[in-house]
């Protein structure tokens, strides 16, 4: 892995994040209407009529937030705020800072997403490779239709079904939340058990819904690897079957899976957002759901910035790991 390669990828990452942030900045401003007016209108909707000069208040806030400045100046203010990790104040939880609220929620989401995607990626890849492999038990080969159903299911719908089965019908798991109320998250036995119990259902929903996707993609790639000459050669040399499967089959067929992981990261994050909202899991997704409900404009903007940057960082890491798996990439 050369310095140039890393620099290139990092440059691309910066460009993509910058473009995404620009989009995040421009989209709300391109739409008709005035954001402050919008918030004001919805507040009036909650608390009845207001007889004073509402336009004066709107103008005042526009000035305060710098929304009356020319667009380019607003943009530089926005970028400047971002470099100072300043995303403004939440409207819903005023006067809490958007960054501090997200800071509390982010670890929950990262852990949930990391664990569930690791499990489903491994499980799905190994299963998908086994399906077309000669000598695989019927139990695994026959799972294709089931996997197809799972791949077709959006994870949050699966989540609803899981709530019904394991919280309503058989109340084995706690209904929503991230930890038993009153317990502090920390590295003691009681807290960890409670957190695992709370995360089990959302994680299951995410794992199930994406295992099918990985398995189906992997199956296709394994089929084409099976036809390669080097597999036949390995067989002819009498190499142990398990070694052929892992080192010759799985390893080569897996490469496109890693690319797919990079491509599907956005969807993964999107799926997790909805799953969290369904389970009221104390992560970024639930925050987003609440912010939408409350019309918390700054919270929404802040959340999208955080999600975009997090996805970008994950992609960058994936890009940097890739040459370690496929030596052909690093050279180029």
């Amino acid at each position: 892995m050369t310095v140039r390669f890393v620099a290139n990828r990092f440059g691309l990452f910066l460009l993509i994040v910058l473009a995404a942030l620009t989009l995040n900045f421009l989209l709300p401003r391109m739409l008709p209407g005035d954001p402050v007016q919008r918030i004001f209108d919805s507040l009036m909707g909650y608390s009845g009529t207001f007889t004073g000069d509402s336009q004066a208040i709107v103008d005042r806030y526009n000035e305060k937030y710098g929304l009356n400045l020319p667009l380019w100046q607003q943009f530089f203010n926005y970028l400047g705020d971002l470099t100072r990790f300043d995303l403004g104040h939440s409207i819903q939880h005023f006067p809490a800072k958007v960054t501090s609220i997200i800071g509390v929620a982010l670890p929950w989401t990262v852990v949930l997403l990391l664990l569930s995607s690791l499990i489903s990626f491994t499980l799905g890849t190994v299963m998908g490779a086994l399906i077309p492999w000669p000598g695989t038990p019927k139990a695994i080969t026959g799972s294709v239709p089931g996997l197809m159903v799972l791949a077709a299911l959006p994870p949050f719908l699966l989540g609803i079904v899981l709530i019904f089965l394991f919280i309503v019908v058989w109340p084995w798991f706690p209904a929503g939340g991230g930890i038993t109320p009153g317990l502090q998250p920390g590295f003691n036995f009681e807290a960890i058990v409670s957190m695992v119990k709370h995360a089990a259902m959302p994680a299951t929903a995410l794992v199930f819904a994406s295992t099918g996707f990985w398995a189906l993609a992997m199956r296709g790639m394994t089929v084409s690897v099976l036809g390669e000459d080097y597999i036949m050669l390995a067989r002819a040399k009498g190499i142990r079957k398990s070694r052929i499967f892992f080192r010759y089959g799985l390893r080569t067929a897996m490469l496109p899976q890693i690319t797919a992981l990079a491509m599907g990261l956005g969807n993964l994050v999107g799926g997790a957002i909805l799953v969290e909202a369904i389970f009221a899991y104390p992560g970024v997704g639930t925050l987003l759901f609440q912010a939408i409900g409350a019309g918390d404009y700054f919270m929404l903007q802040g959340l999208s910035v955080v999600v975009i940057i997090t996805t970008g960082v994950a992609l960058l890491l994936l890009d940097l790991i890739y040459p370690l798996i496929d030596p052909r990439i690093g050279a180029g």
């Binding site: 739409l31 959006p154 719908l157 369904i278 929404l300 996805t311």
Partner: protein, 300 residues
């Protein structure tokens, strides 16, 4: 596994060979047939069933609330006094409308951008590809949320247009890749030597060859759009005054249908969504086999 090879049979007329290969294709392509059948069922429910149900029962307060399924209300009623069956039936056509319009706009935009990127290459290609990379990087739901949260009143039509925003990248990439290989083919180069040029060449010579890919991408875009609309609606950003499957999920969540044990309320939209997804998925794998003949001989 079951490769019916036509070459090993004695040549007994072209017609016989053609029909037998068609049959073997349908046999191979069972997923396509099943998928089409599944979607036909959906279309039946969406467009024929409304004639047999009481559409008025889908309005809030039209019937007695919170009834479990009875002879009168096959699928029960919800907490706001709506007949679940009526709501489901009316919802499907709206969800399909959003998905097909969004998928259609997305595919057309992707086609246009893919043609431009693949044919003209150069800086235009770089810009289009970069835009697509950015759109793929950002979770689609975030873009959708940013846009929808800023719209005052969501309708089914606006929803479709917003979702088209996130469903053009797949078509663009496929079409671009195909144009890149097609433009090197000799018949294109001959056409070029014959004096055809630019977009005329694209439309007359390249486009017809892209049709199978386009169809495959359209089906995929529709299924992406279904996912996107359901997700947006479940977050509460859907058209509040229309019946859609996603809004059903949203209302049932809002009123805690699952925890209240009102399975007849939350399960029909989910079952319907899964059914639609599965049908579209089977069709798209089937169309993929047509677009990509190399896949035909693989194990299925």
């Amino acid at each position: 596994m079951t490769t019916v090879s036509s070459s090993s049979q004695p040549v007994s007329g072209r017609l016989v060979e053609k029909t037998s290969s068609a049959i073997s294709f349908m046999n191979d392509n069972r997923s396509f047939a099943i998928g089409v059948a599944m979607i036909l069922v959906v279309l039946f429910i969406a467009y024929i069933m409304p004639f047999f149900i009481e559409a008025d029962d889908a309005r809030v307060g039209a019937v007695k609330a919170r009834l479990s399924p009875t002879a009168e209300h096959f699928m029960g009623t919800d907490t706001q006094g709506r007949d679940v069956l009526s709501v489901v039936v009316l919802s499907i056509s709206q969800t399909l409308k959003i998905a097909v319009v969004a998928g259609g706009i997305g595919t057309l935009a992707g086609l246009l951008l893919g043609l431009i990127a693949g044919y003209f290459r150069g800086p235009l290609d770089a810009v289009i590809r970069f835009a697509s990379d950015v759109m793929i990087t950002i979770p689609a739901i975030i873009i959708l949320v940013i846009v929808s949260a800023n719209i005052r009143e969501m309708t089914v039509e606006i929803m479709a247009i917003i979702i088209a925003l996130v469903s053009w990248m797949g078509a663009m990439r496929t079409i671009r890749a195909q144009v890149l290989t097609l433009r090197e083919r000799s018949y294109i180069q001959i056409a070029q030597l014959n004096g055809e040029s630019g977009f005329e060449l694209l439309i007359r010579e390249v486009l017809p060859n892209l049709m199978p890919y386009l169809v495959a991408r359209f089906v995929m875009a529709v299924s992406v759009a279904v996912l996107a609309t359901i997700g947006l609606e479940a977050l509460g950003l859907g058209p509040q005054n229309s019946y859609t499957l996603g809004m059903m999920v949203y209302w049932s969540q809002l009123y805690n249908a699952v925890l209240r044990g009102m399975w007849w309320w939350w399960s029909p939209p989910i079952a319907m969504i899964v059914w639609i997804f599965l049908g579209l998925y089977l069709i798209s794998t089937g169309v993929d086999k047509i677009a990509n003949p190399r896949l035909r001989n693989r194990n299925s």
